[in-house]
């Protein structure tokens, strides 16, 4: 096995035993990036010097009795999360030259935990997309089939984890942007409860939905990463002041007597038959492990997509008003100050971002607010209520992560609505503010990974991780590596 293929906990054991050094591990991952990233294109910015410096520091600390949880572990960060002194572009021309003067809280926590930061990963512009094709710079390719998308918007982070270009990564999930790319790339992706992780320094897309999540090669690694980044942050008034459990303690492998809900609305026409078969087989395995499978209903599932595509764009239109070419970012000088705003934004934003700003502006505008935005907020209440009722009956809800496996690059770029449908099973979790994880549960006939989504109630990360871990230990999907 190559060093770059190790999980975080495997690398941790080798580092602790003195069998490898952080510099060796980091250099192996950097070499791997140099070997494959011309094809995968997971990274927008690489910081090998910074990484090796941090690795040397980790090695120098090595003899301290108390090891830091990520000491010497090479990690990638989605390029929508601020890194002091390292460009943070959001995959956008409008922030192409932006260098944050501060670290996001999650980045500060990674550093405090001893992590080695390798660089910044590609994303759909401002995290708006499901394929990473909306990056203003270049698309990222799926390591399992380079002709296909890695999913999105955290496609760079997912592809990097899958291809051995880091040991774990941070992503963000506003409507499925951690879970869907994790499914497409055959890895684990966890979206924490809204408020569980600080958003300070996460560049805002839709503030009531955005949450930082983790991408990893297995469930144990996801638990380790979440334990590092979770917790209250006075800099984010929406972060919850609730103690952070040791998430790795949840990984017992025992799910006997737990109740697993299967939402009948998630097995719909249009779902790829191999995806449905893999998910149903996974439910059978959970039953074999002693869980009780219960059919549940989430009756407003059909409305999640239109609700999301009104609320998220509305919030985006307000958040992205700050890109005016005055204090930072691109400026294109026009005939007047107003024309400068219009030219800067018209040329600085790509098509999907402009589409969503337009949609959100319309939904919030005089005469349409009640019919669209307020209506969507009311239906959001109904969607949240569906989950509240389901979690009175069951511990977790299990469904596919996405209706299909990874699609071809270019296949859906001309039809935004088709692209949006790729997130149909993940959006509700963000609208309800609950948590969810995607783990590998099989492959289709083309050899493309299939994701199993396990959803839990607010602050139910331990429960979700426990079920995910039990399934993972009973299967070997997570040990497969892409052919690249």
């Amino acid at each position: 096995m190559h060093l770059y293929d190790l999980t975080i906990h495997q690398a941790r054991a080798l580092l602790d035993a003195g069998e490898i050094s952080a510099v060796e591990l980091t250099q192996a991952v950097i070499d791997r990036i140099l070997a494959v990233d011309n094809d995968v294109r997971a990274y927008i910015t690489l910081t090998p010097e910074v990484a090796l410096e941090q690795a040397r520091a980790a090695d120098a600390m090595g003899r301290q009795p108390q090891k830091l949880p990520l000491q010497g572990i090479p990690i990638a960060v989605k390029d929508i999360i601020c890194t002091a002194g390292i460009p943070t572009t959001c995959g956008s021309r409008i922030l192409e030259d932006f260098v944050p003067p501060y670290d996001a809280t999650v980045v500060a926590r990674l550093k405090a935990a001893g992590a080695v930061i390798l660089g910044k990963t590609n994303t759909d512009e401002f995290a708006m997309g499901s394929s990473t094709e909306n990056s203003a710079f270049f698309p990222t390719h799926n390591p399992w089939d380079l002709e296909r998308v890695p999913g999105g918007s955290s496609g760079g982070s997912a592809a990097a984890v899958a291809a051995g270009e880091c040991l774990g990564a941070l992503g963000t999930d506003t409507g499925g942007s951690v879970r869907q790319p994790a499914a497409f790339c055959g890895i684990v992706g966890l979206k924490p409860t809204y408020g569980r992780v600080s958003r300070y320094g996460l560049i805002a897309f839709a503030s009531s939905l955005d949450q930082v999540g983790v991408l990893a090669r297995d469930v144990t690694d996801a638990a380790i990463l979440l334990s590092v980044i979770a917790g209250h942050d006075p800099q984010d008034s929406t972060s919850l002041d609730v103690p952070v459990p040791d998430y790795t303690a949840a990984l017992t492998g025992d799910i006997r007597g737990m109740r697993v809900g299967v939402p009948r609305e998630y097995f719909i026409a249009g779902i790829q038959p191999e995806v449905e078969a893999a998910v149903r087989a996974a439910l059978g395995q959970l039953a074999d492990l002693g869980a009780e499978i219960v059919e549940v209903s989430l009756p407003h599932t059909d409305y999640a997509l239109p609700v999301y595509y009104l609320i998220a764009p509305a919030e985006a239109s307000a958040n992205l008003a700050r890109y005016d070419g005055v204090r930072y970012g691109l400026r294109i000088v026009g005939d007047s100050l107003e024309d400068t705003y219009k030219q800067t934004r018209g040329r600085g934003f790509g098509p999907e971002v402009k589409r969503r700003i337009m949609l959100g502006t319309y939904a919030l505008s005089a005469g349409y607010y009640d019919a669209y935005y307020l209506k969507a907020q009311k239906v959001r209440t109904l969607i949240k209520g569906d989950f509240d009722r389901a979690f009175e009956q069951v511990d977790v809800v299990v469904a596919p992560t996405s209706p299909t496996t990874a699609f071809r690059i270019g296949e859906k770029t001309e039809d935004p609505l088709q692209m949006y449908l790729s997130d149909i099973f993940t959006l509700s979790v963000n609208l309800a503010g609950i948590c969810g994880i995607s783990i590998p549960c099989g492959f289709d006939a083309q050899g493309l990974p299939i994701g199993l989504q396990i959803m839990g109630p607010a602050l139910g990360e331990t429960t979700v991780l426990r079920v995910a871990y039990a399934y993972e230990q009973a299967t070997d999907w997570h040990t497969r590596r892409p052919p690249i």
Binding site: Y303, V307, Y328, L337, K342, M358, T381
Partner: protein, 95 residues
């Protein structure tokens, strides 16, 4: 529920976005399709349902107003498209 070209231009103006003629037509079609899809929300009776703006139980989070050192001015201004004498420089609003 089809947007007119005039509506697209009005929205773009509100959003301060300069669009090309080709973009206006494309957005007119694409946004109309999404709005038609969203029309299914009208099927639901939400008369008695309160809106959800945030899932959090938190309201008006307060903290002590302790002074802290601000970010260094030069770090902030380093990202400005144009700066002069410790200020952001913008085009004149009137002559």
């Amino acid at each position: 529920m089809i947007l007119t070209r005039e509506e697209v231009e009005h929205i773009a103006d509100l959003a301060r976005l300069a669009l090309t003629e080709e973009e206006k037509e494309r957005f007119r079609q694409q946004l109309s399709a999404v709005l038609e899809y969203a029309a299914r929300l009208q099927e639901l009776d939400t008369e008695a349902i309160p809106p959800t703006a945030t899932v959090l139980p938190l309201r008006n989070v307060m903290r002590p107003d302790d002074p802290r050192p601000p970010a260094p001015r030069e770090d902030i201004l380093a990202n400005a498209p144009e700066a002069e004498e410790n200020c952001f420089k913008v085009p004149a609003i009137w002559d």
